[in-house]
C-alpha cells in the first residue's frame, strides 16, 4: 500500500457536480412516483453470465459458525426482480455494483449503478423514458435509434444475423484481428469483437444512440422477440464511445430463465470457468409471477464522465481502486 496515494482521484469540484447529478436523478424518479429501494450487496447467489466475475466472501457469525458463502453483486437485478414479483410496482435503485477482473479508463471493479424497472413498459417505452433522463442530465438532443442489425451492417457491410462464423472470421481478419479470429469458435465473441472495436466508434457521436434488438444468442435476461426469434428485447445506449446502459424487455418465464442459467454453467464447465450457484430465489420469484416489465441499468460513473468532460473513470470517483 502506497501512502502517497491518500488524496482523492477526483477533484472536489467534480464530486460536487456528481452529487448534483445524483440529486437530479432522484428527483426525476420521485416526480414519476418510482419507489427508491435498496437491496443486498452481499447475496448467497450471483450471476452465471460467463463474462462476469463476482467477488466472493464468507460470513462467519451467529447462525453461521461454519461460514456462509456470499457474493458481492455484479448488479442489483435479481433482488429487484424479487421485489417486483412481490408487488413493489415501479422501482429504482442507486447502488454500488462489483465486478472482478475489470479495471481501466472506463472500468473500476466497484462502480455506481442506476437500475430501474417499469411494470407495463416494453423496451421502447423504457427507451423513451431513459431518453428524457439523458436530456435532463446531459443537456443532449433526443437520442437516435438503430437496430443491432442496422448498426452492424452500416459500419461493416455484413448482416450479423445471417452471417456464418466463417464470414465473421474473414471480416475480423480483414479488420486486423486475425490472431483472435483464426482460432475463435464462438460466433458471439466475433460479433462482440467487431461491434466493440468497429461499430461502436461509428454510432452515438453527436447525440446518444440506442441500439436495440440484439441477437437472441446475446439476450442475457431479455425476452426473445415474437416477431423475429433471431433477436431479443435487449437494448444498449451509446454516447461518445461509451457504453452507458443495458436494458431488457424482461424475461418473465421461470423455466426459460433456469435453462439459460444452466446453459451458462455448462459453458463455464467447458471453458474452465468457475461454476456459479444459480439464484433459485429468483427462479422461485419468477414462478410466483414477475409482472411484464422493462428494466435498465446505467453506469453512473460514465454518465458523470460525459457530463463533466472527463476522460477517465478515476476522474469522477472519489477513490479509484488504486487509492481505495
Amino acid at each position: 500500500m502506497s501512502a502517497d496515494l491518500w488524496a482523492p482521484s477526483a477533484s472536489i469540484e467534480t464530486l460536487k457536480q456528481r452529487a448534483a447529478i445524483l440529486r437530479r436523478i432522484r428527483e426525476f424518479f420521485y416526480a414519476r412516483d418510482v419507489l427508491e429501494v435498496e437491496t443486498p450487496s452481499l447475496s448467497a447467489a450471483s450471476v452465471t453470465d460467463v463474462h462476469l466475475a463476482s467477488f466472493n466472501t464468507t460470513f462467519v457469525g451467529p447462525g453461521h459458525a461454519g461460514g456462509l458463502p456470499l457474493f458481492l453483486q455484479t448488479s442489483p437485478e435479481f433482488a429487484m426482480k424479487r421485489l417486483l414479483a412481490a408487488g413493489s410496482g415501479a422501482i429504482f435503485q442507486l447502488c454500488k455494483a462489483f465486478r472482478n477482473e475489470e479495471a481501466g479508463s472506463h472500468h473500476n471493479p466497484e462502480f455506481t449503478m442506476l437500475e430501474w424497472y417499469r411494470p407495463g413498459f416494453d423496451e421502447f417505452a423504457l427507451m423513451d423514458e431513459m431518453d428524457e433522463l439523458m436530456q435532463l442530465v446531459l443537456g443532449v438532443e433526443p437520442a437516435t435509434r438503430l437496430t443491432y442489425q442496422q448498426a452492424f451492417e452500416k459500419a461493416l457491410g455484413l448482416d450479423p444475423l445471417t452471417a456464418s462464423i466463417e464470414q465473421l472470421k474473414q471480416l475480423a481478419c480483414k479488420q486486423g484481428f486475425a490472431d483472435i479470429a483464426q482460432n475463435e469458435t464462438h460466433k458471439d465473441t466475433l460479433l462482440q469483437l467487431l461491434f466493440c472495436m468497429k461499430v461502436e466508434p461509428t454510432i452515438g457521436q453527436e447525440k446518444p444512440c440506442f441500439v436495440y434488438h440484439f441477437p437472441a444468442s446475446q439476450a442475457a435476461l431479455a425476452q426473445i422477440c415474437e416477431h423475429d426469434t433471431r433477436v431479443a428485447g435487449r437494448f444498449e445506449l451509446y454516447y461518445k464511445n461509451m457504453e452507458l446502459a443495458n436494458g431488457f424487455n424482461e424475461l418473465t418465464n421461470a423455466s426459460e430463465q433456469a435453462k439459460r442459467f444452466n446453459e451458462d454453467n455448462a459453458y463455464r464447465a467447458e471453458n474452465g470457468l468457475k461454476q456459479v450457484p444459480m439464484d433459485t430465489r429468483l427462479i422461485k420469484a419468477l414462478e410466483h409471477g414477475l409482472p411484464q416489465c422493462a428494466g435498465v441499468a446505467l453506469g453512473i460513473d460514465r454518465l458523470v464522465m460525459l457530463a463533466t468532460n472527463k476522460e477517465k473513470i478515476k476522474d469522477v470517483i472519489a477513490f479509484d481502486v488504486q487509492r481505495a
Binding site: 453470465d49 463474462h51 477482473e101 475489470e102 479495471a103 481501466g104 479508463s105 472506463h106 472500468h107 486486423g176 484481428f177 490472431d179 483472435i180 458471439d188 465473441t189 462482440q192 469483437l193 461491434f195 466493440c196 472495436m197 446475446q218 442475457a220 444498449e236 457504453e243 443495458n246 441499468a297 453506469g299
Partner: protein, 188 residues
C-alpha cells in the same frame, strides 16, 4: 521465457509479437457490459521501431521477450561495428549499424550508453540524455548576440547538425539534449 497474461500487461513489458521483441506502450481494457473482454494494446516493435495497435482477448497469454537493458561505455568503431564495454567486468559487446540507428550521431567515447539486448544480442543503443560535442563547422556569428535569436546550424564532430545561438563558434564544445537534438549550453 515466461508467458504473460493480459492482466500482467503494462507499459514497459517486453513481449514477442510476429517473431520480434516488442515493448508495451499502453494497455486498455475494452469490455461490453454483456460480453467478452478485450485488451487494446499499443506496442513498439523494438527492432523496426514501428508502433502499432493490437487487440487481445482478455485472459490470453503471450510469450515474453528476453530483453534487457545494460549500461555500457562506448569505446570505438571499426567502421562495421561499434564497440561498448562493461566498466565493471570489462566485457565487450559489438553493435551493428542497424542497432545503432540514429544514435550513431550522439556517440562520445567513454559515455555510458544504454544497450538493449535481445537474447544477448544488441538490438538498440540509447545515448545518454545529454552529450558534449565539439563544433567542427558553423558560420561565424556576431559578437554580443544573445541566445534569444533564431540561431544558426552547426555541425558537430560526429556529423550531427544542431541549431545553436549565433555567438557559438567553431572549436567550442556544446551540450546537446539527445532526446530532441536541441542545444542546451556551451561547455566551458
Amino acid at each position: 521465457m515466461a508467458n504473460y497474461s493480459t492482466n500482467e500487461f503494462k507499459g514497459g513489458l517486453k513481449i514477442m509479437m510476429d517473431g520480434e521483441p516488442c515493448s508495451i506502450l499502453e494497455n486498455e481494457m475494452v469490455k461490453p457490459g454483456k460480453g467478452q473482454a478485450f485488451n487494446r494494446v499499443r506496442i513498439r516493435k523494438l527492432i523496426s521501431g514501428k508502433v502499432l495497435e493490437k487487440t487481445f482477448k482478455s485472459g490470453e497469454s503471450v510469450e515474453g521477450a528476453d530483453v534487457m537493458d545494460t549500461d555500457l561505455a562506448y569505446l570505438y568503431t571499426d567502421g562495421e561495428f561499434w564497440h561498448f564495454m562493461n566498466n565493471e567486468t570489462f566485457e565487450q559487446i559489438a553493435a551493428d549499424e542497424k542497432a545503432l540507428g540514429d544514435s550513431v550521431k550522439w556517440l562520445v567515447e567513454n559515455d555510458l550508453c544504454t544497450i538493449t539486448l535481445w537474447n544477448g544480442s544488441p538490438i538498440a543503443v540509447t545515448p545518454p540524455n545529454f552529450v558534449e560535442l565539439e563544433i567542427t563547422e558553423t558560420d561565424p556569428g556576431l559578437k554580443g548576440d544573445t541566445a534569444g535569436t533564431g540561431g544558426k546550424p552547426a555541425t558537430l564532430s560526429t556529423g550531427a547538425v544542431v541549431r545553436v545561438p549565433l555567438f557559438v563558434q567553431i572549436g567550442e564544445v556544446i551540450k546537446v539534449d539527445t532526446r530532441n537534438g536541441e542545444y542546451v549550453s556551451r561547455v566551458k
